[in-house]
Point group: C2
Chain length 194, copies 2
Amino acid sequence: MPLQCRNQPGVNIEAMQQDLQHTLSLLARTPATLNALLRELPDAWTGQNEGENTWSAYDVVGHLIHGERTDWMPRARRILEFGETRAFEPFDRLGQNRESQGKTLPQLLDEFTRLRARSLEELRSLNLRPEDMERRGLHPSLGTVTLAELLATWAAHDLTHLHQISRIMAHQYRQAVGPWSKFLGVMHCAGHSS
Amino acid sequence: MPLQCRNQPGVNIEAMQQDLQHTLSLLARTPATLNALLRELPDAWTGQNEGENTWSAYDVVGHLIHGERTDWMPRARRILEFGETRAFEPFDRLGQNRESQGKTLPQLLDEFTRLRARSLEELRSLNLRPEDMERRGLHPSLGTVTLAELLATWAAHDLTHLHQISRIMAHQYRQAVGPWSKFLGVMHCAGHSS
């Protein structure tokens, strides 16, 4: 398809609803994507961050592992078991320090691959029906959320960290690219998390 | 290594210089990264864009193919053959329309994989020495640039488009994530290219 076919006005006005198969298809690919991108890449790319109190690609993989253990499926189970009567545990955004302690990046990638496969196996085994997607839970700061929103956020969270990793690594060449910097959007992205 | 080891103040004040082995290691991984991320993903992820006159992931792969054919190695050769006496050809940022015509995403991924391998084979065969990196060429709008800057930009260009693809795909779930949007930096990135 040429570019124009997808650029017709209005094509993209309505955003996609959370779709379990679409969510699963994306979540299932992230370990292989990170393996292809990061495994055996020199530490000059994967071990460097964007300055004090920022993360390296290595740190991000630890964060993804921590999310796999404590965030996504535990929260989905809580919605299904307790609805809004019991809030999620707050997520520890520095939990990767414990997850990563003493481990190499390939070890972390292997661990993330294993944990993600286990999470998706569990998610599939729930045999969720369309009506389950509207079931509600209680987020400690956001308030009422739905299972559909949790699952969409899981997929988008993978993408936000792929976005971050590509930015962290590009940052290492911010001077090396010389005058081309102005053409490279990633060099001007400061991150947007609140 | 725990997070703190890499977050010492000053660790990252000096950005990495272009290093041919580091550049090659990154460039060599991009086809496998895009294959892992995109191949067989539903068109709902790969065929949608961010609105009128923006690109889908499919379009980005076509753009990378066009760059492989007309931008990176042709410009490196021009620097080595003509120095600053003959400017680069301007790069056609809509060249992917021709490259993509009638092709499926898996076909484009195969083509990019093949072209990238050929480019890197040619780059390695040049046996560039450290002193070659300072050789100069003439960019049609940026003026004088060095071979080192061109090679660093090639790697950063891969990363800027990985950054873009993750943003385009996250955009499809911008409504589905509900209140979590505020925690997902990628949802608030509007791109930064000039």
